[in-house]
C-alpha cells in the first residue's frame, strides 16, 4: 500500500488522527494513548496492512511529556510506517503495552521503563532490566543530572 492509501484506510478506523510525512521518510501517525492498543491490533491483524514486524521501539522525552515511537514493517506486503504515542505527563507516565501483539516489545518496553520511567500497562514483567535495582532516576530523560558520572560540556 502507498502512504496515501494507508492514511485513508486508518482514517476510516479512527477519526482525527494526526498524520505527517514532513521531515521523515515514513508515514507517521500520532495516536492518543487510549487508542494505541486498538490501533496496533488493527494494524497487525487487518488483511490490508499486516504490520507484523516491529523493528524499532524508541522512548523519547518531549519535554512536558514522554513518548514512544514504533517503527513497523509488513514482511509480506513490504510497506512501513511509524506510530507515535504521547503520555499525559512526566510524573505518572503510562502507556498500554503492545507486547501481546509484537512479542519483541517485551524487552524493548522494559528497557524504556528503566531509562525513561514509562509504565506499560498489562506488561507481564516490569522489573528493572538494565539498571541496578536501587538506581535513582531515569537516565535518558532530559532533566536527569548525575554530577559524578556525566561530563556536560
Amino acid at each position: 500500500m502507498t502512504n496515501q492509501q494507508l492514511q485513508d484506510l486508518i482514517n476510516t478506523w479512527f477519526e482525527n488522527l494526526d498524520f505527517t510525512e514532513e521531515a521523515t521518510e515514513f508515514l507517521t501517525v500520532t495516536v492518543p494513548k487510549e487508542n494505541l492498543h486498538e490501533l496496533a491490533k488493527k494494524l497487525k491483524s487487518d488483511k490490508q496492512t499486516q504490520f507484523d514486524y516491529l523493528f524499532c521501539e524508541t522512548g523519547i522525552d518531549w519535554g512536558k511529556t514522554l513518548g514512544v515511537i514504533y517503527h513497523l514493517r509488513s514482511t509480506s506486503l513490504k510497506h512501513e510506517m511509524v506510530v507515535k504515542v504521547e503520555t499525559d505527563d512526566r510524573e505518572n507516565a503510562s502507556i498500554d503495552t503492545v507486547c501481546d501483539i509484537w512479542r519483541t516489545a517485551e524487552l524493548h518496553e522494559r528497557e524504556i521503563h528503566d531509562l525513561f520511567g514509562i509504565e506499560f500497562n498489562n506488561h507481564p514483567n516490569m522489573e528493572v532490566l538494565i539498571l541496578p535495582p536501587d538506581w535513582d532516576g531515569y537516565p535518558l530523560r532530559k532533566d536527569y543530572v548525575d554530577e559524578v558520572n556525566m561530563i556536560i560540556r
Binding site: 524508541t58 515511537i69 524493548h108 538494565i130 537516565p139 535518558l140
Partner: protein
C-alpha cells in the same frame, strides 16, 4: 519414556531452583547474565539481566557532535564495527543530502563484507569451542588474522576501525589492498571447505545442533529477530536486498540470501556458512572495478543536521542495525536510538529455550551469536 512419566513411576520428586549463567561464563561471550529457573536439567524460565556493560551510548550521543558519535558506535557490536560506522555515516549523509562518490560506496561495501567475514570466522571458531571442539577456535582466528592485517594496513586499526567519516572515508585504500584482498579470497576458498570437513560433517556436532532451539517463522517475525537468525527461520530480512545502500544501491550485485525453513540451531549455522561464501562472491564482483573518485565530500567543520527524523538501516553480521536520529537542528542529536540486532535476537531466547536442557542453551546462544556490548549499548 518421557521425563514426566519417569518421575511418576519412580516416585521421586524434583523441585525448581534458580541458577545463574554468567555474567562471568565463557559461553556468554561477555557479561550477559541469564537467570535460569530449572527443574533437574530442564529449563523452565530464562530471564536475562542486562546492564553489566551498559555505557549509556545513547545518552552520550546527545552531548557529542556527529563525527564523534561514529567513534562510539565501534564499541557497540565490535565485530561489525565498520558496519556500525557506516550506518551512522549514511544517516548523516541522508540528512545532509550528501551523495558520496562511487569509489567510497565500493570501498565501504568491500570493507563491510570483509568485516562480516571476520565476524563469522570468529563466530564459527568460538561456537565450536562452546560445544567442545577446541580446534575450530584456532582455525577461525588463523583466517581472521589475515583480514585484520588488511584493515591494519589500510586504516591503522584492526578491530575498531573508524574508517568512515561523514561524507566519505578517512583515507584512500592502501596500494596493497586490492592484491591482499584477492589473496585472502583465494586462500579462504580453500579453507572454508576445511571448516565443513572439521565441524559440519561431524556426527556429534550435528546431533547437538539439529532440532535444538526451534524458532518458527511466525515467532521469528513476532520476536523481531533479524539477520542469520531470521533467515534460519525462513524470514526474508536482508537489508542489503530490502533497502539497498552503498554499492548495493548503485550496482547490480549478484548474491543470494540463504534461507532455511527449519528454524533450529543447525539452520542458523548453515546460514552463516553460506553467508561467508556469498560475502566472498560480493567482494569478487567489486574488487576489480573500484571506480576513481573523491574519497571524501566536503562537509562543514561543525555538522548540524536539519530539523527532522532520520532512520537508516544496514545489515551487520548479526542482522539489522537501525539508527534513529531525531534532530532539532543543533550540532548534537536531540535523541539517538540504536536498534541493535542483538537486543531483539535475545528477546527470542526464552521462547527457544524453555523445555530444553542447559547444554542445548549453550548451542542456542552460540547460534544467536550474541555480542553483549551490542545488547547493552
Amino acid at each position: 519414556m518421557d521425563y514426566e512419566a519417569q518421575i511418576q513411576k519412580n516416585q521421586f520428586r524434583t523441585e525448581e531452583y534458580k541458577i545463574n549463567l554468567g555474567p562471568q561464563h565463557p559461553a556468554t561471550h561477555g557479561v550477559l547474565r541469564l537467570n535460569l529457573t530449572i527443574d533437574g536439567e530442564i529449563i523452565k524460565r530464562v530471564e536475562p539481566d542486562l546492564g553489566y556493560i551498559h555505557r549509556g551510548i545513547e545518552k552520550m550521543c546527545e552531548y557529542d557532535s556527529y563525527p564523534q558519535i561514529i567513534h562510539l558506535t565501534d564499541r557497540m557490536d565490535y565485530l561489525s564495527s565498520h558496519n556500525n560506522n557506516e550506518a551512522v555515516a549514511l544517516a548523516i549523509e541522508k540528512a545532509l543530502e550528501i551523495e558520496v562518490s562511487g569509489r567510497v560506496k565500493y570501498i565501504r561495501t568491500i570493507v563491510g563484507e570483509l568485516t562480516r567475514l571476520a565476524s563469522h570466522q570468529l563466530w564459527w571458531g568460538v561456537m565450536g569451542m562452546d560445544l567442545g571442539a577446541l580446534t575450530t577456535y584456532f582455525y577461525g582466528f588463523r583466517d581472521r588474522e589475515l583480514i585484520n592485517d588488511i584493515f591494519e594496513e589500510t586504516c591503522g586499526a584492526r578491530l575498531t576501525m573508524n574508517y568512515t567519516v561523514p561524507g566519505g572515508i578517512r583515507y584512500d585504500i592502501h596500494k596493497n589492498f586490492v592484491k591482499r584482498v584477492k589473496d585472502f579470497i583465494t586462500h579462504f576458498k580453500t579453507k572454508l571447505p576445511e571448516y565443513d570437513q572439521l565441524l559440519t560433517g561431524n556426527i556429534i556436532f550435528e546431533k547437538r545442533m539439529k532440532s535444538v532451539g526451534i524458532l518458527s517463522k511466525e515467532d521469528a517475525i513476532s520476536y523481531g529477530v533479524s539477520g542469520p537468525v531470521a533467515r534460519g527461520s525462513g524470514v526474508v530480512s536482508d537489508i542489503r536486498k530490502i533497502k539497498p545502500y552503498s554499492a548495493f544501491a548503485i550496482q547490480d550485485i549478484d548474491f543470494k540470501e540463504p534461507l532455511y525453513t527449519e528454524g533450529d540451531a543447525w539452520a542458523r549455522y548453515k546460514v552463516r556458512i553460506d553467508e561467508m561464501w556469498e560475502s566472498m562472491k560480493i567482494i569478487e564482483q567489486l574488487i576489480d572495478n573500484i571506480p576513481e573518485g573523491n574519497i571524501k565530500e566536503p562537509t562543514k567543520a561543525v555538522i548540524k543536521l536539519p530539523k527532522g527524523e532520520y532512520y537508516q538501516r544496514v545489515e551487520t553480521a548479526r542482522g539489522e542495525l537501525g539508527v534513529y536520529i531525531n534532530s532539532t537542528g543543533g550540532k548534537s542529536p536531540y535523541r539517538m536510538k540504536f536498534r541493535s540486532p542483538g537486543f531483539s535476537n535475545l528477546s527470542a531466547l526464552e521462547h527457544m529455550a524453555v523445555g530444553s536442557k542447559i547444554g542445548d542453551l549453550v548451542a542456542m546462544m552460540a547460534t544467536l551469536d550474541l555480542v553483549v556490548p551490542d545488547i547493552d549499548r
